[in-house]
């Protein structure tokens, strides 16, 4: 009998322990879910019990405004970065990692269903930038710019013999991607990103002061202008068109304003480096990702300042004595528009087609690759934004145009997303092309009345 009682006590104690453990687990899981966000629903991931999970189709995953639809031109194509479309409708994508030994692919849709059915690779160099101007296809490595001649059918004439236009640009494994835009007067603009976060003597290191002056700006941290048709140019042959720009992966020549627009990746780590000035929430929002309209001689202020979109002020950088409140004057140009921090604008295109509704004409589409430097706050971005323009200036609030590249709010918050939008281009029929460089997806977005 006593033995039985002992056993009973043990059982009860064990039950209690298990109960406590379970309660603990449940409440821990609840906390991890970040304030009651429901995971896994409405995402095509679950499916009914016993049935295989629904596979999410990359085309139908995108959320678009009413009347728009998407098809995938290619899928699982590797690191597809920037994209451009020829006057004949052939699509060219640049890969930052070679696929079957090739770094550029020409994608042709011969039957009009939107999908590429004739695919040819060329260019044995990886990179990000690609653009077409005046019968030539320009493509970049992290140090050079090459070009290939095209014929009237957007076919590459000498795929094995590109002409080297620019060479020897600095690439120090930070903001190394060289990206390009061309005007109509034979000029080539190259983004040379700063190989630094904030031009500290020791990059990204707490307590390391800012370089005075920032020597990086002599050869990077700006946009350089070269001749589009002259071979083997290097720094001495071109000139620094605009400076004080940390890294502008997205740049585009706006034909309606006849000027160069860029999207700057703002600096990182305000909280990590200066926890006494900015908390993690402020550091996730700041500084703004800025759009600038550039002119010859523009100075946008990096690394000495950043734009605080909440105060609407140009703030002195903490590495140069800033305290989060001190401002700088007109030595740094004002941004044309400002967006939340760290969303990484990687693609920009001004819409000139007539396929989309009138409101899109001459406005800007911006591909936000998505953040990493918002942790521990939720990550943000992974969408294509539309910025309305009026008389050549941003006018009105930006809106998300193409959404859900991430695969759902939970994936976006964690940064473990399905797709990351990177490059943008407009086709001759007015469709919008978007690349993803995570899986290698290219979408064609069209509007049907």
């Amino acid at each position: 009998m006593q033995q039985f009682i002992k056993k009973e006590v043990f059982r009860k104690a064990a039950c209690l322990t298990a109960g406590l453990i379970l309660t603990g687990l449940v409440s821990f899981a609840g906390r991890n879910n970040g304030g009651g966000k429901v995971s896994g629903r409405g995402n095509g991931g679950g499916g009914a019990k016993g049935q295989p999970a629904k596979t999410t189709d990359a085309a139908s995953q995108l959320k678009l405004p009413s009347g728009f639809s998407a098809v995938t031109v290619v899928e699982n194509f590797g690191r597809t970065r920037h994209i451009t479309v020829g006057p004949g409708g052939a699509v060219f994508v640049k890969l930052s990692k070679l696929k079957d030994g090739k770094g550029i692919y020409r994608l042709e849709d011969t039957n009009g269903d939107g999908k590429a059915d004739k695919i040819t690779g060329f260019g044995n160099f990886p990179g990000t930038g690609v653009a077409i101007s005046n019968g030539y296809l320009y493509a970049t490595t992290d140090e050079d710019v090459y070009r290939f001649q095209l014929n009237a059918k957007d076919e590459v004439l000498n795929p094995d013999q590109p002409e080297k236009i620019v060479t020897g640009l600095l690439s120090r494994h930070e903001h190394e991607a060289k990206t390009i835009a061309l005007d109509d007067k034979g000029n080539l603009f190259v983004n040379i990103g700063a190989y630094s976060n904030a031009c500290q003597l020791q990059d990204r290191t707490k307590g390391s002061p800012g370089m005075k002056p920032c020597k990086i700006l002599d050869s990077a941290g700006g946009i350089w202008e070269f001749k589009a048709g002259k071979a083997n140019q290097t720094y001495g042959d071109g000139h620094r068109y605009a400076t004080g720009l940390r890294n502008c992966v997205a740049l585009f020549w706006n034909k309606s304003t006849n000027s160069l627009f860029v999207m700057q990746h703002g600096r990182d780590q305000l909280h990590d480096l200066f926890p006494d000035i900015w908390d993690t929430k402020q550091s996730a929002e700041l500084p703004a990702e800025c759009m600038y309209e550039l002119h010859d001689g523009s100075n946008c202020g990096w690394p000495y300042m950043f734009y605080d979109q909440l105060q609407h002020k140009k703030i002195l950088a903490p590495e140069y004595g800033g305290d989060g409140k001190k401002t700088v004057g007109d030595e740094a140009q004002d941004p044309a528009a400002a967006y939340p921090g760290h969303m990484a604008p990687n693609g920009l295109v001004f819409y000139t087609g007539s396929q989309f509704p009138e409101k899109y004409r001459n406005g800007a589409f911006i591909a936000f690759h998505g953040s990493w430097n918002r942790a521990p706050e939720p990550q943000k971005g992974y969408f294509v934004v539309f910025q309305p323009f009026k008389n050549g200036k941003p006018s009105g609030q930006w809106e998300v145009f193409a959404d859900n590249f991430s695969g759902g709010p939970e994936k976006a918050a964690s940064g473990r997303v399905d797709y990351r939008p990177c490059g943008l281009a407009q086709g001759p029929d007015g469709s919008l092309y978007v690349t993803d460089d995570t899986k290698g997806t290219v979408w064609k977005i069209s509007y049907r009345k």
Binding site: F10, R11, K12, A13, A14, C15, L16, T17, A18, G19, I21, L22, H173, E174, E176, N197, L201, Q202, D203, R204, T205, K206, G207, S208, Q269, H271, D272, W372, N373, A375, P376, S414, G415, R416, R420, T438
Partner: protein, 148 residues
């Protein structure tokens, strides 16, 4: 009741197993043992590492390398401690390149580095022996961070 009993027994066994397992573990030469070191190390991780390597230790594509199940984290402790002390840039992990800049952290104490490495080596599915302050001290003695 049967069900409760089952859960109770399972729970009891689980507790017992955990106690036994933790007792058979080689005690680490850290204040409070490996478990306390992991707890302290998590705090160091949140303050010093999370921004780049992320909550799940998986890093950022193309920039900051993952810390989960890689030889860098699970392998040679000296090499790992050296990375924390002197920083690094440019590394290939599982065929993927990462270019992000990692600042040196000589300002952290030997114990803080031991704690955070023990945490990293025992999180997100990682399982490896604890790092001690003494081991970090030895690495620090032979490695000075690059001059400013």
């Amino acid at each position: 009741m049967q069900k409760n009993l089952f859960i109770g027994l399972t729970g009891g066994l689980f507790v017992l197993a955990t106690v036994l397992m933790s007792q058979t573990k080689k005690p680490a030469a850290a204040p409070g043992g490996a478990k306390a070191s992991i707890t302290r190390g998590k705090q160091v991780y949140l303050e010093q590492c999370l921004a780049c390597h992320q909550v799940d230790g998986l890093g950022v594509q193309g920039m900051n390398p993952p810390l989960v199940k890689t030889k860098f984290v699970l392998g040679d402790k000296k090499a790992l401690a050296k990375i924390v002390l002197t920083g690094m840039q440019g590394v290939e992990v599982e065929g993927e390149e990462y270019h992000g800049v990692m600042a040196p952290h000589p300002d952290l104490t030997d114990q803080q580095i031991a704690d955070v490495l023990t945490y990293v080596r025992n999180s997100w599915g990682n399982k490896a022996s604890a790092v001690t302050a003494g081991e970090v001290k030895a690495v620090r003695a032979t490695n000075t961070p690059p001059a400013q």
